[in-house]
Amino acid sequence: MTETIHNPTDPIADLSKSPLPTGKTLKMRQSLPFQFTRFLSFNGRIMRMVVKGHH
């Protein structure tokens, strides 16, 4: 995570309650075998969308 330097006068959104991904999640996001399965899954979803929703 990058350390950010806030200008105190800027209305920066408070993201301190946003969940940070765990180390495992970050690793899985870049894991080639796992991401290949997600790639196939997402393409399946797009095709379902084409079949169900394009009318």
């Binding site: 920066i12 959104a13 946003s18 969940p19 996001r29 080639l32 991401q35």
Partner: protein, 484 residues
């Protein structure tokens, strides 16, 4: 013999032209009018804007494709529509003005039997003083803008390498902008490039948006089913901003840009300024300046077009509060009221209202993300109208119109968060329908099909779509098998 004219050669117009040519015999003509000589796969401009892709990989010349397919092409801009013809001829006509070097400025009145307006957006940089390539901020809305943005970004990275801190602001240049997804993509691609260059720790990266909440994307946000729990695109997006250390300023209307300084107002009515060394701000969109005249040359522009310049179609334009907006308000056939041979698709049609809840600042300034109607929905609309026209030419004028409401159709949105075959990532989202239908679904959308996921696979999907859609747009063998 029927003559079909299509104004615009973006995703919607080009898709319509290719399908019409495929569906109609050669005795019928299909003519495209576009002021641009090149087709541009705009979603990949993001990568041009950070130097990950050359301009030549996102554009190609239209004329050879149209010549090969037997589609007429005028490199010209439409200036007026005459849906009832003129005193000489009652057939509809469109007045065009050539933009290519050989015939620049010359005009032609082009007759049509069927007309599709797919003119896309006018980039309204002038809406905010000092914004845009002619001012002090960059853009990625065209390939040339993106090239320039990359030059400026590289200069900032060089300064960072000397150890001098820099502030980079990416976002929306007006309270009524659309295409928040593009700014979202660009900010995370910039973040990725800064990390790759080893200078991220010296850079302050700020996302300045008109969205009232992160993850709104101009579609009122999304609710996902994640491991048995409902989660929101706001929470999911917030996580990415926190993880990457990108600061977010929400609900902002940018009022003015000076050299190195952005003036903006937030929903609570307070006004602020932020200094920048590099800024990329998306402009608000408007319809292209098209006039309309009746057969007696009376100006009927206000009858055909909404004040925004977008063309009115079969939507319910009754002004009503957000709580009364319904999925049924959205158009299904894209036909202009009162005309059975005139349609508007893609960005060119006037939406009945926003999708995201509009808000006013305490000072009364409108902050209302406009509805996105690009990409997948745009292509579907183009094809739908092409099918309607082909049916009417082949089977008679009474053939029913094909339909494709944004309140029924789904869309995939792949927002790049960094390029690279093994180090890239993207937020890959699907939503069904695009316009939420709270009467049909408790969360507005089908939770089984509305999902979001971050990871390397998203980058692969975006790259795959880049090559697939350029292949399709070039009308290579089997192009029609690639869905819109």
């Amino acid at each position: 013999m029927a003559e079909v004219v299509i104004l615009g050669a973006g995703v919607s117009g080009h898709t319509a032209a290719l399908h019409l040519r495929r569906l109609l015999g050669r005795e019928h003509t299909v003519t495209v009018v576009s002021p641009n000589s090149q087709w541009n796969w705009i979603p990949s401009n993001i990568w041009v804007g950070v130097g990950e892709m050359d301009k030549k990989h996102v554009v190609f010349p239209l004329a050879p494709v149209y010549a090969r397919k037997g589609i007429g092409f005028r490199q010209a801009k439409a200036v007026a529509i005459r849906p009832n013809g003129d005193l000489v001829n009652s057939r509809g006509a469109v007045d065009i003005e050539f933009t290519n070097a050989e015939k620049a400025g010359t005009t032609e009145r082009l007759r049509y039997d069927y007309l599709i307006n797919a003119t896309g957006p006018r980039l309204r940089f002038e809406a905010t003083q000092g914004m845009g390539p002619g001012g002090f901020t960059e853009s990625v809305c065209t390939a040339d803008h993106a090239v320039e943005a990359n030059h400026k970004l590289r200069a900032v990275i060089e300064v960072l390498k000397t150890g001098t801190p820099q502030t980079l602001v990416v976002g929306m240049g007006h309270g009524t902008c659309t295409c928040e997804g593009a700014a979202f993509e660009y900010v995370f691609n910039v973040d990725h490039e800064l990390r790759e260059a080893g200078v991220r720790d010296l850079a302050r990266v700020v996302y300045l948006t008109n969205e009232a909440a992160l993850g709104d994307f101009g579609v009122d946000g999304m609710v996902f089913d994640q491991q048995g729990f409902q989660t929101t695109s706001e929470l999911w997006t917030g996580s990415l901003f926190r993880e990457r250390g990108v600061e977010a300023i929400l609900g902002a209307h940018v009022s003015k840009v000076e050299e190195g300084l952005i003036h903006y107002e937030t929903l609570d009515g307070s006004t602020h300024t932020i200094e920048f060394d590099f800024a990329m701000l998306i402009p608000p969109f408007g319809g292209v300046p098209l006039k309309a005249y009746d057969a007696d040359d009376n100006d009927i522009t206000a009858e055909i077009f909404a004040p925004s310049g977008f063309m009115k179609v079969d939507a319910d334009y009754t002004v009503k509060p957000y709580e009364q907006w319904r999925a049924e308000d959205w158009p299904t056939t894209y036909a202009a009221p009162g005309y059975d041979n005139l349609w508007a698709v893609g960005i060119a049609f006037a939406p009945p209202h926003q999708i995201s809840r509009p808000r006013h600042t305490a000072n009364g300034t409108l902050v209302a993300p406009s509805p996105p109607r690009t990409g997948m929905p745009s292509g579907v609309m183009g094809k739908t109208v092409a099918l309607t026209i082909a049916d009417r030419i082949k089977h008679g004028a009474n053939s029913p119109a094909h339909t494709a409401s944004m309140a029924r159709m789904g869309a995939a949105c792949v927002a790049s968060a960094g390029a690279g075959l093994t180090r890239g990532s993207a937020a890959a989202m699907t939503m069904l329908p695009v316009v939420p239908d709270y009467q049909r679904y408790s969360t507005g959308r089908d939770e089984r099909e509305t999902r979001g996921e971050l990871g390397l696979h998203g980058h692969w999907v975006k790259l795959m779509l880049h090559y697939l859609f350029i292949y399709k747009a070039k009308a290579r063998p089997g192009w029609q098998l690639i869905p819109e």
